[in-house]
Structures are given as C-alpha cells and as structure tokens.
C-alpha cells in the first residue's frame, strides 16, 4: 500500500500538472520509501510510454473506401424512400382528382337535357369514381408502401445483419432494444389512408412531407436518453433482485465516510461489477446511503479492502472478515464525511 498523498501526485504526474518542485519531492520520496519506489518508477515509465502512443491511427484504404461507400449507399436508399413515399401519396391524389374530373366532365355520362338528370348522372358517376378511386388509391398506397418497405428493409438488413441474432441481452421490448443498439426500429411506413374522400394535391403533399418529418432521427438527445433508459431497465432488473436480497440479513456490515456520497456509491458500483457482484444503492435520511452488495464470499475480502480505500476521513475501520462459501450479501454504509 503506498503512502497517502502519493497516489494523488501520481495522477497529477500523468495529467502533466506536477510542478518541478513536486516532481523532485516525488523522486526524493521514492528514494526513501521502498513501497512507493516501485509505483513511482512505474508511473514515470508509464507516462513516458503513453507519450509515444498515437491518438490517431491511419485507416487502411480498403476500410476507408468501405465506410464511405456504405454511407453513399445509405444516402441513395434514403432518397429512394423519400421519393417513393411522395409518389405513393401524390399518385393517390392524382387518381382522386382524375376520378372527380371524369365525373364532372361527364364523359362517362350519356348526353341528357334535363339538369336534374344530368345532376343524377354526375352524382352517380361521382359515386362510381369515388368507389374506383378508393380502390385504386388503396392499391397505389400499398404498392408504394411495399416498395418503400423493401428499400428500407434492404438498408436495415445491411446494418443489422450481423447483430440481429446476437443483440446484447437487454430485457426490453423489441423497439427499445433496437434503439439501444442505435438502429432504426423497423417499422412499417405509415401512409395516408385511402378514406374515400378526395385529397387535394396540396394536402397530399403536406402529408408526405409530414411523414418525412415524423421519421425520428436516431441518437438525438432523446434517443440517448432512451438508450440510457434501456440500460437502466436492465439495471433495474438487477436492483429488483438486490432489493429482494435486502429482505435477507447481510452477512456483515461496513461503514465508511466519503466527501461525496454519490461518487462513492458509483465507485462501489464499479467495484462490485469488477468483482462480478451487483450493488443496490438506497439512500437514507441525512445524506447517507446504504449499499447492498451481493458477491462471492471468496472475493469479499479484497472487495472490502478496496472499499476501505474510498474512505476520505483518513482512518477507516478495519473491514470485517467474511467467511463462508457461495454468494454473500454485504451492507455498506456510506456516510458524508465531516467538512474540514
């Protein structure tokens, strides 16, 4: 275990924030303290090595060409999709107008003299045209829909092919899972329904543009939140399990003090994961937190030693011994440290 302030100084060394004086102090300490000497030397060597690591690496030409080509292809598919949806709704509109036009021109109607008879014919023709147009529009809509779907699916298949069967085990419904993966959730393209009422072209155009706007861009700020939420859902599953365990008695209890209880809890969570356990944080009155950690008894000793290092008050209690085999439940109490 190295001396108390040395760890902080080693971090500042890595961050390039050590003054010349502090550096000398560190080197001097290394000469006096054999335990720290190794770590100090390792830190200097690590720093020198990292300075030679490159933050940018040449991408092989074939790989460059591949992603650029994939993007161009995706752009093409996007344009096709847009156009096909437009065509679909515009076609429906055009057909409707044609149907209405036919009825009004009366080209289907025999020549009549009486106005009322003409009117009757027009009305009949209009009804017939409407009926036809509904059918035709529905067909056109379905066709356009189908074409768009195929183009979209082809796109989605390219992107999702490798991962479709190997999606990470996230317990969410299909759509959030797809979102968590960063993919568009495959969904059918919504078309304006053929209602049987004539759609003016302007309205159809408006509908087409509305549909484009509707398609949510993935990984907007909201999508990031959704992604986080999906992972939290998975974590919630773990938490439910831990809460159930909390009904049992912990095998032992250990308290530490921390300047920031929130950060300490997050770090305990990380540690629990490292030791292949799980942690459930519950906050308590007065700013403290109880953290229930479930892990293997064999790892508990090392885990508690690591937790002891998080104590900010300078004099943590000796962590308790954990005996037994199999999984144990440990209760950690994190209290806010007194200010200095």
């Amino acid at each position: 275990m190295i001396c108390k302030d040395v760890s902080g100084m080693l971090d500042r060394l890595m961050d390039g924030e050590l003054t010349a004086d502090e550096r000398r102090e560190l080197e001097a300490h290394g000469r006096e303290c054999p335990e720290c000497a190794e770590e100090i030397r390792a830190a200097f060597e690590m720093k020198a090595l990292f300075e030679e690591a490159l933050p940018e690496v040449d991408v092989p030409l074939a790989v460059q060409a591949k992603w650029r080509g994939a993007v161009r292809e995706a752009a093409k598919q996007d344009r096709k999709k847009k156009w096909t949806r437009w065509i679909g709704s515009a076609a429906a509109a055009v057909v409707v107008l044609a149907g209405v036009g036919l009825a009004l021109n009366g080209s289907l109607a025999p020549k009549q003299n009486s106005t009322s008879e003409k009117l009757a014919v027009v009305q009949e023709a209009a009804v017939a045209a409407e009926a036809n147009e509904v059918e035709y529009a529905a067909e056109a809509v379905n066709e356009a829909d189908a074409v768009a779907e195929v183009a979209y699916e082809a796109n989605a298949v390219d992107f999702a092919a490798e991962t479709a069967d190997e999606a990470p085990v996230i317990e969410t419904d299909g759509e959030s899972e797809a979102l968590a993966m960063g993919y568009d959730a495959p969904k059918s393209v919504a078309m304006p329904e053929a209602t049987g009422e004539p759609l003016p072209v302007a309205e159809a155009a408006g509908a087409a543009m509305e549909m484009e706007a509707e398609e949510p861009a993935m990984e907007t700020e909201e999508a990031f939140e959704e992604e986080d939420a999906a992972f939290e859902d998975a974590a919630a599953g773990d938490q439910a399990m831990c809460a159930a365990l909390a009904q049992q008695s912990p095998a032992c209890e250990y308290a530490i003090q921390a300047m920031s209880v929130e950060v300490a809890c997050e770090v305990i969570g990380d540690l629990a994961e490292e030791f292949e356990g799980s942690a459930d944080v519950q906050s308590v009155e007065g700013g403290s937190a109880n953290v229930y950690v479930e892990l293997d008894a064999a790892s508990a000793g090392e885990f508690l030693a690591a937790v002891a290092k998080l104590d900010d008050a300078g004099n943590p209690a000796e962590p308790p011994r954990v005996s037994g085999e199999g999984t144990v439940l440990v209760l950690l109490v994190v209290e806010p440290a007194e200010g200095e």
Binding site: A42, A43, F50, V59, V63, W67, V71, A74, G182, D270
Partner: protein, 190 residues
C-alpha cells in the same frame, strides 16, 4: 468547407459532405476502436458501424455538445456494444496495436533497445486490454486521446467524479502490472 456548413449539408442527406466531415475524425475514431477492441478486424467493424450510426443520427445533432464529442460518444457506444457481445471471447492482437498505434522508433536506437521498447509497448497495450471496459474507456480517452475530464464525462455519459475515480484506479492497475514486469520497463527508463 467549414464544419458547421458540412454538418448542415450532411444533415440534409449530402453523402459527399458527410464523408468529408467524418474524414476529419476517422483516424481518431479508429485509434479509439483499436484500443477498445484490441484487434484491427473488430476495430474496423466498429469504425464502419459507428460511421453509419453517425449518418443515421446526424440530422438530429443539435449542437449541444461539440461535434467531435458527439462523434466520440457514438464511437465509444459502438465499441462497448461490440465488447458486450463478445464478452467471453477476447481477441487481442498486440502486435498490430503496437505497429499501428505508436510513434516510430528512434533512429538512434540500438537493435536491442528497439526490441525492448517494442516489448514494453506491447506489454502496456496488453495491460490496457486487461482493464475492465469502463476503466479502459476512461484511461484511453484521457491518457492516449488526451481529452479533458469533463469532456470524457460527456462522452461516457457519467459524472466527472466517477471518471476521475475510474482513471485513477485504471492507472493504479496499470502501475501494478508494470511493477510486476519491471525487468521489461526498467531498462527503458525515463
């Protein structure tokens, strides 16, 4: 063309603008992917996937963070997704990491020193691969990519305190491993 203009055009579906824009970031993205994935094949897959995710998402980029931070975030998420998928099948190629990811050796080095340095670099790359993913991500972004703590917090979607802790513990683990192989690093010296 300057960045905001390229973003605008890419958002509108202009693939050429997008390719120019992301061409400025691909080498950094690849450097990150290499060290997260540990081998060039997986890194290249991640790079490809990340580029497509950025393409699909770019019309939603609202400029609340810097473009680079946003791109790195997507890159990291792609790598972490990949790593979670192959949790029990690590696949490292330390040779390649050192070939590609390190500055060329000094002209003045003796062959012996050159070989030792290469081994030291390879060992360090191996130790980085042994770090748990979250720790590896934080250390790579800080000590290799040189991002600031608050930027890293934004990229990884957590708070600065947690990032500092992960980096500190990650470095501590690396130091322990270096100390254990001191014969390699000793001669390198400072």
């Amino acid at each position: 063309m300057e960045e905001s203009r390229l973003i605008q055009r890419a958002s509108g579906g202009d693939a050429a603008a997008f390719n120019e824009l992301l061409g400025q970031h691909e080498r950094r993205m690849y450097a990150v992917a290499l060290r997260m994935c540990g081998n060039p094949e997986d890194a290249q897959d991640c790079l490809q996937e990340a580029m497509l995710r950025v393409w699909r998402a770019i019309s939603g980029f609202k400029g609340q963070s810097s473009f680079s931070t946003w791109v790195y975030r997507i890159t990291m998420n792609t790598c972490l997704d990949e790593l979670r998928k192959r949790k029990n099948r690590p696949n490292t190629s330390l040779d390649t990491l050192v070939e590609a990811g390190w500055s060329p050796p000094d002209e003045g080095d003796t062959p012996e020193r050159h070989a030792l340095r290469r081994e030291a670099r390879q060992s360090l790359e191996g130790f980085i691969q042994e770090l748990p993913e979250d720790m590896r991500a934080a250390v790579v972004l800080r000590d290799i990519q040189g991002y600031a703590y608050d930027e890293i917090a934004e990229i990884l979607g957590t708070n600065v305190g947690t990032i500092k802790s992960r980096i500190s513990r990650g470095r501590e683990k690396l130091r322990e491993k270096i100390s254990a192989r001191s014969e390699l690093f000793d001669r390198y010296g400072v």
